[in-house]
């Protein structure tokens, strides 16, 4: 489903964010992407979403080589994905229903479909009774669930969650990952970028550790390596020009 082949990304200011990354994520997988701040996680997500293009290498998403994708085709690529942001990015003046419906309107779905789909998705995330509430009337966890509903509403094949638990309390963090696990069980590919090692450990999914722009390890429960004594023996030295960039 997602294939990175020898992907490197250097920003115009000369900063190297990713260095020769090769990685495959299959359909229906649940993957945690972990790494220190500035390790290259956000660049990794931006490349998947085609917000950035790689400097070299090849990215294939759903059989489409995105590096050769025409600009006008990018929106259609993104319709395969649902994005959950750390800061929720809900529109304050809209109620919960409209925030979720907004994602459907943006891709031109008719209102007849919207009015049946949105309550269904809100029920999935446990917020059907708060459809009329404004985001400011919800807790952080609830807001993140609205954000998740918005990501889900167009029925994407991939959910990309960028630090989804960064602004919610630990209990709610657990619930959100639980919810993502349930969505994953229905066949949706989930990619979660997080700093929260406890959560990663607890859910026992595939963990990709990115460090200084490279994939340091990629295995189930690899977070133990990541958190324990670092073993860099199998990773070549970074070239001098690899710098750490802020996410």
């Amino acid at each position: 489903m997602i294939d990175f082949k020898n992907v490197s990304k250097t920003y115009p200011n000369g900063t190297h964010a990713l260095y020769n990354v090769s990685l495959s994520i299959d359909k229906g997988e649940f993957v945690f992407i972990v790494g220190a701040s500035g390790a290259g996680k956000s660049t990794f997500l931006k490349l998947i979403m085609h917000e950035e293009s790689p400097t070299s290498g090849e990215i294939v998403i759903n059989g489409t080589e995105t590096t050769r994708l025409r600009r006008s085709k990018v929106p259609y690529l993104r319709r395969h994905m649902g994005i959950v942001f750390q800061d929720f990015r809900l529109i304050e003046k809209m109620n919960v229903f409209d925030n979720v419906a907004f994602a459907m309107r943006a891709v031109g779905k008719p209102y007849s479909v919207i009015k049946s789909r949105v309550p269904y998705v809100l029920e999935l995330v446990g917020l059907k009774d708060k459809m009329k509430n404004k985001p400011s009337e919800l807790s952080g966890g609830e807001q993140q669930r609205v954000s998740l509903a918005r990501a889900l509403v167009n029925n994407p094949e991939i959910i990309i969650a960028d630090e989804p638990t960064g602004n919610v309390d630990p209990e709610m963090s657990h619930e959100i990952i639980e919810l993502l696990t349930e969505i994953n069980a229905k066949g949706t590919t989930i990619i979660v970028v997080t700093h929260e090692h406890e959560l990663v450990r607890e859910f026992g999914k595939r963990v990709v550790v990115i460090d200084h722009g490279r994939v340091k390890s990629d295995a189930s429960k690899a977070v133990d390596d990541y958190l324990g004594e670092a073993d860099y023996a199998d990773i070549p030295d970074y070239p001098d020009n690899v710098e750490v960039i802020p996410d």
Binding site: E52, S72, P75, R78, M81, G82, R89, I91, A106, V107
Partner: protein
């Protein structure tokens, strides 16, 4: 386009939620359209007068005031003998005054002028071939006793010169105001886009096409343009009446085109211009935002 109604509604909402900037844009655009409209109508009216004057093949030859009426009649006969003269009509001072009275349509002014003997005996000349006008006028001027020649062609030329000058000045001002209007609208749309950057970033992240993102903002610009065109049409209608009434009082000869004969053309021209200016004003701002991605849109 799917969701056209929704996007159009969003565009209208933008105009209202951003009303201070919208009003500023509308004011500038209305001024621009009114100025263009008045200048154009003035030019059309001058054109009409020039046309009618040009078609009137009559040249008034004034006889020196110290010549008697009989001598004046002889001068008229002498003019009639010229090759290019079709016919002549002799007007006495009194007849000329009567014609003038009809023309000025102002009894008080006419009473004041009585007794001053302002007009000479006049011979009205109709020529056979207007292309030989200048040579014929030169021949008439050589005749003893001819004081002056009032040429309608010269009047037509003067009016055309005035019309050209008005057109040139109004073109310059209109051009400047059009550019200002486009930039003010561009700025208005930029403010709207900034206040809705969150929505734009979400739209792009869920796969909205550029045309979908673009439409509400284009609609906002076009609505501003259209509202301006309606206000400008009303403004031009009122101003035209005031200006033309004033001109007619000063120059009764100046027969103006009734506003109702032209107002729908003015309205159509304004609607098209307003919408086009609004469209391009919006487009300038939108292009920049559509090139951005993700956090760049949010300025992070």
């Amino acid at each position: 386009m799917r969701g056209f109604g929704y996007l159009t509604k969003e565009g209208l909402k933008n105009v209202w939620s951003n009303r201070i900037m919208s009003i500023a844009s509308i004011c500038v655009l209305v001024s621009c359209l009114i100025l263009t409209g008045i200048a154009s109508l003035f030019s059309i009216n001058i054109g009409k007068v020039v046309d009618s004057v040009g078609k009137t093949n009559e040249t008034s030859v004034y006889i020196k005031k110290d010549y008697s009426q009989l001598e004046a009649v002889y001068i008229g006969k002498e003019i009639e003998r010229l090759d290019n003269v079709e016919s002549t009509t002799f007007l006495t001072k009194e007849e000329a005054m009567e014609q003038f009275k009809d023309l000025i349509n102002d009894d008080a002014l006419f009473a004041e002028m009585q007794g001053r003997d302002p007009l000479p005996d006049t011979v009205v000349v109709v020529m056979k071939d207007l292309s030989l006008y200048d040579q014929t006028v030169a021949q008439i001027k050589k005749i003893e006793g001819v004081d002056d020649i009032n040429s309608h062609t010269e009047l037509a030329k003067t009016l055309t010169d005035i019309s050209n000058l008005v057109n040139a000045i109004s073109f310059g001002i209109t051009l400047a105001l059009t550019i200002v209007s486009i930039f003010i609208i561009a700025n208005t749309i930029r403010v709207t886009m900034y206040s809705r950057r969150f929505e734009i970033s979400i739209m792009k992240s869920v796969g909205a096409t550029n045309s979908f993102v673009r439409w509400p903002f284009l609609m906002e610009g076009m609505v501003i343009g259209f509202i301006s065109s309606i206000l400008a049409t009303c403004g031009v209608g009122l101003l035209y009446e005031v200006i033309m009434t004033a001109i007619q009082q000063m120059l009764p000869i100046f027969v103006t085109i009734p506003i109702m004969d032209v107002i729908w053309y003015v309205a159509a021209a304004f609607a098209v211009s307003g919408v086009v200016i609004g469209f391009f004003g919006s487009l300038i701002s939108i292009r920049k935002y559509l090139k951005m991605e993700g956090n760049e849109i949010l300025g992070w």
